[in-house]
């Protein structure tokens, strides 16, 4: 899976390099649109902007802490058991995040239901631990975690905002478009409340990003056949 990361190796710890570790995943190497990772939660919790933001915050926290932890013990852990160790670290962090959410945001935690627990199997967390934290220093791994968490948050926030505004006419609970049922003029798009809309929105985000960054366009797998081998 996605092994794209800043150049590894010694002597590359300059400020610019750190900045790139942090900022790279925001747009250029966005975990969702380029590597197609971490979708499980990205789609299901974006019905409202608030849920999307809380989910991103939870994922970012887990990413930063797991990056730091995996990186800190990377010289002590034998390669053969590293996956188990990583899963245990991530699972413990997710339990903490889950309990914090239940303690301070009970309503929201109910709304996110199983998706907080599913951060454990969120491929972003796992792939960053496996492809970055395992061979970089603690600080850089935490920066990488923060960058990927924010990149994830940008896409989630965008999709969440569009779905909430078009689907229920509100943003973070405040009315933006007065809905017809409430005496206004806007007839909400019910499609936006349904899960499939997230797919279409993410497809649009990917399309937009790849039009800006043409190097991400996928190669054609098939070239038009001549008349003799046409289908």
């Amino acid at each position: 899976m996605g092994a794209v990361s800043g150049p590894a190796g010694g002597g590359m710890n300059g400020t610019r390099d750190r900045a790139r570790t942090l900022l790279g995943p925001l747009l250029a190497e966005n975990p969702i649109t380029l590597h197609v990772l971490g979708l499980c939660s990205a789609l299901a919790v974006t019905k409202t902007l608030l849920a999307a933001l809380v989910m991103s915050a939870a994922v970012t926290a887990v990413l930063i802490l797991s990056g730091g932890a995996v990186s800190a013990i990377r010289h002590q852990v034998p390669r053969s058991i590293r996956l188990i160790v990583q899963i245990t670290i991530i699972a413990s962090l997710v339990i903490v995040v889950d309990l914090v959410l239940q303690a301070y945001a009970w309503e929201l935690s109910k709304q996110l239901s199983v998706f907080v627990g599913l951060i454990i199997t969120n491929c972003i967390v796992f792939s960053r631990a496996e492809s970055f934290a395992i061979n970089h220093g603690v600080v850089r791994s935490m920066l990488d975690g923060a960058g990927n968490g924010l990149g994830y948050g940008i896409v989630l926030g965008l999709v969440g905002a569009v779905r909430e505004v078009l689907g229920s006419g509100t943003l973070l609970g405040a009315t933006v478009l007065a809905t017809a049922s409430g005496g206004g003029w806007y007839v909400p798009m019910t499609l936006m409340l349904l899960p499939p809309s997230a797919f279409f929105l993410i497809a649009l985000v990917i399309w937009g990003l790849r039009t800006m960054r043409r190097e991400q366009i996928e190669a054609r797998e098939f070239t038009a056949p001549g008349p003799e081998n046409g289908r």
């Binding site: 899963i87 279409f200 497809a203």
Partner: protein
């Protein structure tokens, strides 16, 4: 009763298309029909075994009040995440070894997909939904099998669609991943009809 749970899990509450679980793998392994078949079978196998297994563990050990018979007032349910993932990882290892020992024919087709199933959100998600919906053992057997069948069916259908999409003349930016998202969106809309039928 169990038939209803099975059908509901396979169609109306399809884990891939209604809850988007296992999406990373769903999109990554649906590029080719062979990988989709292998992955679908691996998920079906692990899901049908792991959900009932986790149900037993949860009901006997972790559930609030599970230790009443010993006079202990303990609520270990917060341990469910780490327990379930450990069970799934161990189960996958055991299945892998069993297949290697007794059904070497399957190793090439199924074996290489099994390890990846550990981090498939659908497997863990099914376990968590089982807890959230408070299922009995019988229900959890039907739910695990139904979810597995539903997930496998969805990925096989998507692989078929993507096989065709390869020949389409899509806008450059949408090619590949983008189009797959759109296709899954339409499939998901289609599956909403099952939810309407189920009531």
């Amino acid at each position: 009763m169990s038939v209803e749970v099975f059908l509901r899990a396979a169609l109306a509450d399809n884990l891939a298309l209604s809850f988007f679980l296992g999406m990373c793998m769903f999109l990554a392994s649906s590029r080719r029909m062979e990988t989709a078949l292998g992955m679908g079978a691996a998920v079906l196998l692990v899901m049908s075994v792991s959900v009932p297994l986790n149900q037993i563990l949860y009901a006997r050990l972790l559930r609030p009040g599970a230790w009443e018979w010993a006079g202990l007032d303990a609520d270990l349910s917060f341990l469910k995440l780490i327990t379930f993932i450990a069970i799934i990882a161990a189960l996958v290892q055991i299945l892998e070894m069993a297949i290697e020992r007794y059904l070497p024919v399957l190793r090439g087709g199924l074996g290489i997909y099994l390890p990846m199933v550990t981090v498939n959100c659908a497997i863990l998600g099914a376990g968590l939904f089982m807890v959230e919906r408070d299922m009995t053992f019988g229900d959890s057997v039907a739910y695990g099998a139904g979810s597995g069948v539903g997930w496998a069916a969805a990925i096989i259908v998507l692989a078929g669609i993507r096989d065709r999409l390869r020949y389409s003349d899509a806008p450059e930016g949408l090619r590949g991943t983008g189009l797959a998202f759109v296709a899954v969106g339409w499939m998901s809309l289609g599956f909403l009809a099952f939810a309407a039928m189920g009531g």
